[in-house]
């Protein structure tokens, strides 16, 4: 059984790493001048992870994060929450308006940068530092809460209960599907940068959320099915700051992750989060998109089946996207199956759910490593886009003539940040998994043995991440 597992693991990891070299779709990296070959960083990262594993096994004999407490710091008045919600609605409305009324140029219109840089990248960074800030600014939640408050006032009573109970079996599956759909738009859809289409999709998404909240209640829907709320909330579990009911608490970093309720769909959501970012890197490489690459090869197959050129390309990229998610899910499943092989009362499905929180820092590490340079460079575009959101020559704040400073960070600095983020993220994942194993297994030795497999998974994910990043710099 273990031999078969080993063979499958080697094949899966081999396939992951021997796939064609790639670049990062959104990584803006110049020429690097590193003192050692890039692949040596992967070796060093593996050494760091192994040393971390040994240190955890010897110096961390009791669960700490599972039982960590948090301390109340401050509370904010309800008016602040209302103001944040109003600000969220205003930003959403301005972005959609820019999408419809502004220029078609993706770089001159506010909408694409707002969606792909501020919303998709900057909020996860802010969430890690400040806690779940999106919860306060979430525009569709703010609209729903405002409407519920108005209805309650009109009826002079308490807010009406939701007409339907959120189905337990549905769990976070809608969120997993929503993130996959967004990734498809970002990475596969040929009109992904069209501002007016983005505006239509934003309105459609908001409408679906409003319907969902009206049927199942604002909080149950937001916690489980609103893809972006769930996505940002997962990252907030790593933050030392925790917002709850307008009250701020402080806790040790990572201590929120063990509190994740692993409802159905949670494993799928984390695999989608890691797999889609991985595909973003893979999809830009010469051997994916270049002459003789996998994508043109697949596209030709779809053309032969009678599809048009555009649809054939989208189908090829869709296959790649789903394949990468499946690869990540497969590697995680192998780690969990390996854990199960040491014995104990927990079946593979349960182990998969109980350890899924250890994937959160890996997902965030991939986001940081992958999008750091995009945020640093394209984030500067917000300076001129807020002054000229439509791209039609206005200068509301006197910053319309600013430009992006590409010398802000050197290519080497970007690379070191990426490596540091990946290693730190995977070490954090190891720590969370080790802490959980100490709770699940009766003996320290069994807990440590169970984590051999998780160590292999972490080293595999680290090497995959560094390989994707290094290919971008070639």
């Amino acid at each position: 059984m273990r031999r078969r597992l080993l063979a499958i693991a080697a094949l899966a990891l081999g396939a992951a790493l021997a796939l064609p070299a790639s670049a990062l779709a959104h990584g803006l990296v110049g020429k690097q001048d590193l003192p050692i070959p890039r692949w040596l960083f992967a070796w060093a990262a593996a050494v760091v992870l192994v040393v971390s594993f040994v240190a955890l096994a010897t110096l961390w004999p009791r669960p700490r994060l599972e039982r960590a407490s948090e301390h109340r710091v401050l509370a904010v008045p309800p008016v602040v929450e209302a103001l944040c919600g109003a600000a969220g609605i205003a930003i959403f409305a301005i972005s959609v308006w820019a999408g419809f009324a502004g220029t078609d140029s993706a770089s001159a219109n506010l909408m694409p940068t707002m969606v792909y840089v501020v919303f998709w990248v900057a909020i996860p960074f802010a969430t890690l530092l400040l806690g779940n800030v999106f919860g306060a600014f979430n525009p569709w939640r703010a609209v729903a809460r405002g409407a519920a408050w108005l209805f309650a006032r009109a009826g002079r009573g308490a807010e009406a209960p939701a007409p339907l109970a959120y189905p337990a079996w549905l769990g976070r599956w809608p969120a997993a599907f929503g993130i996959l759909l967004f990734a498809w738009v970002e990475l596969v859809y040929v009109n992904r940068d069209d501002p007016s289409r983005l505006a239509v999709m934003a309105l459609l998404y908001a409408a679906v959320q409003l319907v969902g909240m009206s049927l199942y209640g604002i909080e149950p829907w937001t916690r489980n099915a609103d893809a972006f709320s769930v996505y940002f909330r997962l990252f907030s579990l790593l933050s030392p700051l925790h917002w709850r009911e307008r009250t701020l608490f402080v806790r040790p970093p990572l201590a929120g992750a063990p509190r994740l309720d692993p409802v159905p769909g949670t494993v799928a959501l984390l695999c989608v989060m890691i797999g889609t970012v991985s595909f973003d890197g893979l999809s830009q490489g010469q051997l994916w998109t270049g002459t003789g690459g996998i994508a043109p090869h697949l596209q030709r197959r779809f053309l032969e089946l009678g599809f048009g050129a555009e649809v054939a390309l989208e189908l090829a990229f869709t296959l790649g996207l789903l394949g990468m998610v499946a690869l990540v899910a497969g590697v995680y499943r192998l780690g969990v199956t390996g854990m199960h092989s040491i014995g104990g009362p927990h079946d593979t499905t349960e182990l998969g759910r109980r350890f899924v929180h250890s994937l959160i820092p890996i997902a965030l590490a991939y986001v940081v490593a992958h999008y750091f340079s995009l945020l640093m460079y394209q984030g500067q575009a917000m300076a001129f886009l807020v002054s000229d959101p439509l791209g039609k020559g206005s200068d509301l704040f006197g910053t319309a003539t600013t430009s992006i400073d590409y010398t802000l960070l050197g290519a080497n600095a970007v690379w070191y940040v990426q490596v540091f983020a990946l290693v730190l993220g995977h070490a954090a994942g190891l720590t969370l998994a080790h802490d959980r194993a100490l709770v699940l297994y009766r003996r320290v030795r069994d807990a440590t043995r169970s984590q051999y497999w998780m160590l292999a998974v972490m080293v595999g994910f680290t090497s995959l991440g560094l390989w994707l990043l290094s290919a971008a710099a070639q």
Partner: protein
């Protein structure tokens, strides 16, 4: 004519270097796990969590 990606071996052979630590860790952990299983009888003395 369809070109297979594998034809571009020269472009990505360095990718195999990224696989080395993964293979090493898996092999070492496999042997360690085998040794641990052999010592399972002694595990009774281990301190429970």
């Amino acid at each position: 004519m369809t070109q297979l990606p594998l034809a571009h071996l020269g472009h990505w052979y360095q990718s195999l270097f990224y696989l080395v630590p993964v293979v090493l860790v898996v092999v070492v952990l496999w042997f360690q796990e085998r040794r641990e299983r052999g010592r399972d009888g002694d595990a009774e003395d281990d301190e429970p969590v």
